[in-house]
């Protein structure tokens, strides 16, 4: 099992596609244009790293990327890259087929299947190290060994404990220390602790901005355009603690504050305030935007992703801070750790705070832990009179749903909300 020996991967194509889409969107919001710039910066840097032999650290989702930046390593976010590639290049079918050839079963998350396929085809830069963790599912936990074998590169598995007891927090901090030692040994780069502290201080600013944006989105009408919340994730996934993220988040915040001041909503008139649970099919994102727009629906909150609590990190204790950030990350709270009353109460509070009329649960077939709570969350939300639509989808595989099927189900749901 090896990677095809392509000298050039396809990350340059993603960067070019982002620039083209930006050029073709003269009327886009400033924040959306900034989002395209973020992606262009990220993938151009990767392309240059590949060309110039800089140390590339491939990593799975919810990885402490702040550490990679502080060590001057070039990160490659594997799952996000597959999603972004789907959005901008639409070439997922080839990667999925290559994943199948590796004997990866269809029930494995399509992002991970296509990722292995993309590596097998040489579509991604060959990493110098493969890093992964068990946040937030078995697919993440199990994907790294195959990827490192495909790339013949050293590997590190970062283990997150399940709970948040003091012992478990200590365990995670020690894992982070091991990660740094591993990276220093493999890359020859020393950890720059001052820089890491600086990024942690920036994270405090980021968290404050997340909270401000969350607050602004409570306004009636809600100001954030529908696909905005997915773009929003790029800041923390790709640039945590980086000036690029802060710049982007400030633009979003200012834009939303301005709209709220003017009493303008993302959709006009705003008829339905929707809670989005998990992620919609990315290959249909444009169509979904249109369907929501035409029906006066707007996603006002996404508790699995954009529901941060208030907390402060201590730049003088960078590793403790990274561990703390993980404990508070919405994805970890809602989708990973033991599901207790706290999580359920947060969901209820979220629905009430955002005055949601209904919720759409994207039942992604490759994501078992989020689908296992569909009935439970539905029961909880129904008790507070919030109807829930469940849509069976795949994130990137276009063979699972058609646009018309999803449109029909959504329109029926909006009719139901209208009748209430």
């Amino acid at each position: 099992m090896t990677v095809a020996d392509n000298k050039k991967s396809r990350v340059g194509s993603i960067a070019r596609a982002c620039k083209i889409v930006k050029r073709m969107s003269p009327n886009a919001n400033k924040s959306e244009l900034c989002y395209y710039d973020l992606l262009t910066t990220y993938y151009t840097r990767l392309q240059e790293a590949e060309q110039n032999g800089k140390f590339i650290a491939a990593h799975t989702v919810f990885f402490p990327v702040e550490i990679l930046y502080a060590m001057d390593l070039v990160p490659l976010h594997t799952e996000s890259t597959m999603m972004i590639s789907t959005l901008f290049l639409g070439n997922q079918s080839d990667y999925l087929a290559a994943g199948s050839e590796l004997k990866l079963a269809p029930e494995i998350c399509s992002a991970h299947r296509s990722l292995a396929g993309a590596y097998a085809l040489g579509a991604l830069p060959r990493p110098d190290v493969m890093l992964w963790s068990n946040l937030i599912c078995d697919n993440s936990a199990k994907s790294g060994e195959l990827l490192s074998q495909l790339n013949h590169c050293p590997r590190f598995f970062l283990e997150h404990p399940f709970g948040d007891s003091p012992e478990e927090e200590k365990y995670l901090i020690a894992e982070l220390e091991d990660l740094i030692s591993f990276l220093e040994e493999q890359s020859g780069h020393k950890m720059n602790w001052d820089r890491l502290s600086e990024y942690i201080a920036n994270m405090n600013q980021e968290i404050a901005l997340f909270l401000e944006v969350q607050e602004l989105r409570k306004a009636v009408p809600s100001p954030f355009y529908n696909r905005g919340y997915l773009e929003f994730l790029a800041a923390d996934y790709l640039f945590p603690g980086q000036p690029e993220a802060i710049n982007y988040l400030q633009i979003v915040r200012d834009e939303l504050a301005d709209l709220v001041k003017q009493g303008k909503g993302a959709v006009q008139p705003e008829k339905f305030r929707i809670m989005s649970l998990f992620v919609p099919p990315l290959y249909l994102i444009g169509s979904l935007d249109k369907i929501f727009q035409e029906n006066g629906a707007v996603s006002v909150t996404e508790p699995f992703f954009n529901y941060w609590p208030e907390f402060k990190l201590d730049p003088a204790k960078p590793l403790e801070s990274i561990a703390k950030k993980f404990m508070f990350t919405p994805e970890r709270r809602m989708m990973y750790g033991p599901l207790g009353d706290t999580t359920i109460n947060e969901l209820i509070k979220c629905a009430k705070d955002y005055k949601v009329d209904g919720a759409v649960y994207y039942a992604y077939i490759g994501c078992r832990q989020t689908c296992a709570t569909i009935k439970l969350f539905k029961d909880v939300l129904n008790k507070i009179d919030v109807p829930v639509l469940t849509l069976d989808i795949d994130l990137i595989d276009p063979t699972v749903n058609t646009q018309s099927e999803i449109q029909q189900k959504l329109e029926q749901f909006f009719e139901l909300l209208q009748d209430r």
Partner: protein
């Protein structure tokens, strides 16, 4: 094998979860605790004076309407099957449940069980995927917390003496099962794979005191009057949890014998004893459970692969049948890696996608038949 003892094991399996022994326990006001995964140390439950039983699903393939409605179609049929039995009141006798953070299906099964079935005692352990020193320390603290929680909930004190007694009892059980498996190493094994599965299923559904008694007598019976069985090929079974003896029987009907396995309800359940070696009972238990024959969830996978190869050599198997329940993602991710490894070891492997409880359909038999022909052609 015709044996009254084997029939007793069969009787336990056919009546589970409502077995006579469990009903008697309840009549005597004794506690019964259900456990959801082999990373939950039974010795602690036993030392607390309770009966530990493994929560399993239906013994055969059934429609999982409730399981699917509550857990969704993309969670493994084992989890859905267990939950459905719970939702339908079959496990109402339980005084509590214990689970581990072992896989997405297991942890969500625990979450839903807790929410909908509201057991009076529930505990989930953080089970590390690594086995280095730090992981051992964390797991030990988790086990200690579990012990404390159980003591508080049941109103008992779990003494070291009680733990030592439980260790001895459970090790005896492991040792007997080892002895049973030795009978499968023979050129003409004294017991079939389906019959062994019957014994294994009973092992976590009854008290170890009674199980050990029956098993000791059964092994003696096999040794004295058992007849060796010839076969076309010796196979090993690998992959997800699997409790339906009919599945193995349908394979063995093709004149082969399943002589060993790598399943969490068989070899991975009993293979490693608790070794005291001067350690505290709790430390010894914790070490055993973390270092045991690993599940596919553990990292790195090499340890599991090494043990599979070693088992295949020890039991002189001609090929491995890997049956992976749909959506059992930890095992599914290992397919390319283990294929690669076994190819290098020149051990043939057949991968089957199955549902929990499946009894071996025509399609499975056809694929196994083709696999056997390939093995036989290779032998020539």
């Amino acid at each position: 094998v015709k044996s009254e003892l084997l029939e007793k094991f069969r009787e336990v399996n056919n009546t589970f979860p409502q077995t006579q022994e469990i009903q008697e326990y309840k009549k005597q006001q004794r506690k019964v605790i259900g456990w959801l995964c082999t990373y939950v140390p039974e010795e602690i439950i036993h030392a607390a004076g309770a009966l530990p039983v493994r929560i399993t699903g239906y013994n055969h393939e059934v429609e999982l309407e409730d399981g699917t409605a509550y857990m969704y179609i993309n969670n493994c049929s084992f989890s859905r099957s267990c939950l459905q039995l719970g939702l339908r009141g079959e496990y109402d006798f339980l005084d509590g449940i214990a689970g581990g953070s072992t896989c997405d299906g297991a942890r969500r099964l625990f979450d839903l069980w807790r929410y909908y079935l509201k057991p009076s005692f529930y505990h989930v352990l953080t089970v590390p995927r690594k086995t280095h020193e730090r992981a051992h320390q964390l797991y030990h603290s988790q086990i200690a917390e579990f012990k404390n929680h159980l003591e508080a909930s049941l109103g008992v004190t779990i003494t070291d003496k009680a733990l030592l007694n439980s260790i001895q009892l459970y090790n005896e059980s492991r040792s007997l099962l080892q002895e049973l498996y030795e009978l499968r190493k023979l050129d003409e094994p004294l017991i079939t794979g389906a019959e062994t599965m019957e014994v294994m299923n009973a092992s976590f559904r009854m008290s170890k005191e009674l199980f050990n008694k029956y098993l000791r007598e059964f092994i003696q019976e096999l040794k004295t009057s058992g007849q060796g069985q010839k076969c076309r090929a010796r196979l090993m079974l690998s992959g997800s949890v699997m409790t339906n003896t009919e599945f193995i029987k349908s394979i063995e009907d093709l004149q082969v014998l399943v002589v060993t396995d790598e399943l969490c309800n068989s070899t991975r359940y009993w293979s490693d004893p608790v070794i005291l070696d001067g350690k505290s009972p709790l430390q010894a238990i914790s070490d055993r459970y973390l270092d045991n024959f690993p599940c596919a969830r553990m990292y790195p996978s090499d340890e599991r692969f090494n043990r599979i190869v070693s088992l295949a050599r020890d039991f002189k198997v001609d090929g491995i049948i890997s049956q992976i329940i749909r959506y059992c993602v930890s095992y599914a991710h290992d397919v390319p890696l283990i294929s690669d490894r076994l190819k290098r070891e020149e051990i043939p492997i057949l991968f089957l996608d199955v549902e929990y409880g499946t009894s071996g359909t025509g399609q499975i038999r056809t694929r196994v038949q083709a696999f056997l022909e390939m093995i036989e052609a290779k032998k020539k």
